[in-house]
Point group: C2
Chain length 262, copies 2
């Protein structure tokens, strides 16, 4: 826990030294992911007012930066949440509690009860979601409708068998960025943890979905940096007559029951 | 018009001869796409009871097959629609009128006023959408919720500048299939038409999003065929504790207004 806290703080410092205005850390970056028991998860939890986020805030102050990172949150209700915090030099701007829990997370965490947020920060309007949330395009669309220019997604993506090509999670990030015409910063874990292999699918996509940086070669710790002009995500025009969000027809998105049976 | 009608009928015949149980044709396959005027579009229109769909039904009868194809529909209201028909040996099972019109289509067509459908056919439960509809993940999600095992997407995808890699539309199809755990059959146009270059991004993806066949080499007419066990799209379990559709939390998909301004 103390070691992870130090590592995440050092990673934030390194990124800001490299010029980053927005830094994204992985999911559960202060605690690790593969808990053996609820008790072990609880030992790794801390409140949003705890030392990990305080450390990120102190680092953010060095570069007028914003940090989005996953942590194991001890709620004021005594429950544990798989959360992402948004922090700047002034402290904690917001905490999002992951609403879609993956597999054994359900043994340790309470799912969040509030929408994923869009925060207007000094680094732009940042939508925040965590890992498996990416698999719910309706959540991401909500962030786009909420004005997100960039989505920051702390993640711990376990490796599943797939063809020898770009990890499917990067394909999802690209499509998500393209479909919502916004930037996407996915920060994944790397290496192994208690028998789980992480994909290391860290990537930054532009508003057309194209990777600007990442994934890093190898599967070790890496800093992935890209210049993103977030203002480009504000203009949703696709043609003289089309607009990514304006063309939506939400009244028609609930299908009828099947109308023909052969 | 007569030539296109013959070409689409021949394409259906060829596909069924190759063993296809489900045949997907491009958008506006009987008329072409690049109209100069509403009058020209009207000259290329026909009702769903017209000879083009009748021809497809006759071909479908040869193989107990189902055909999904785009056509320029003359509605009973006298308006033109950019429609996709689902046809089998018994005739027309359903007609979907595209609800998201792209660019100059708005000059020629009335947008549809009904949801994209899921039809239970002898080739499986088929969700139908057309081209630009793919850019609305909430529409596709509706088809998944409606029980679609495969989405058939007639398309005419104009080529835009992009990096030298897989066309973005194929990335979108892969992500869409993966996120909804269903098969995806995208049939695109090829070659040039009145100064527009079509991408030729025809692809069939499995329920994990991986291309089973396509896109064809070159940019000429091609038949893309794959074996798809659609029953695999019915089981939406992702892990012991996760389900693609069951994990949704629709009450949380409308974001709050931005909560912090730095």
């Amino acid at each position: 826990m103390a070691a992870n806290r130090r590592l995440t703080r050092e990673a934030v410092r390194e990124a800001i030294a490299a010029g980053a205005r927005l830094v994204v850390l992985p999911e559960l970056s202060t605690s690790g992911y593969v808990f053996e028991s609820p008790a072990e998860a609880r030992e790794c939890a801390e409140p949003a007012s705890g030392p990990s986020l305080q450390g990120w805030a102190e680092e953010a102050a060095r570069g007028d930066a914003v940090v989005v990172g996953g942590f194991c949150e001890l709620g004021e209700d005594g429950l544990l949440y798989n959360s992402a915090a948004v922090v700047d030099a002034t402290g904690v701007l917001g905490v999002y509690r992951k609403i879609h829990l993956w597999d054994r997370e359900k043994l340790f965490f309470e799912p969040g009860h509030a929408c994923a947020p869009v925060l207007a920060t000094r680094a732009g309007r940042i939508g925040v979601a965590v890992c498996y949330d990416l698999f719910f395009p309706e959540l991401i669309r909500g962030l786009a409708l909420g004005g997100a220019e960039l989505i920051a997604l702390p993640a711990n993506l376990p490796r599943f068998p797939q063809p020898e090509e770009r990890p499917i999670e990067i394909t999802l990030a690209m499509a998500t960025a393209h479909l919502n015409h916004l930037f996407f910063a996915l920060c994944d874990r790397c290496g192994p943890e208690r028998g789980v292999e992480w994909v290391g699918a860290t990537v930054i996509c532009d508003e057309h979905g194209w990777p600007l940086a990442g994934p890093p070669a190898g599967n070790g710790p890496a800093l992935v940096v890209a210049d993103c002009d977030l203002s480009r995500a504000r203009d949703k025009a696709l043609s003289e007559r089309n607009d990514v969000l304006g063309d939506r027809r939400p009244e028609l998105y609930v299908p009828d029951e099947p109308t023909h049976v052969a």
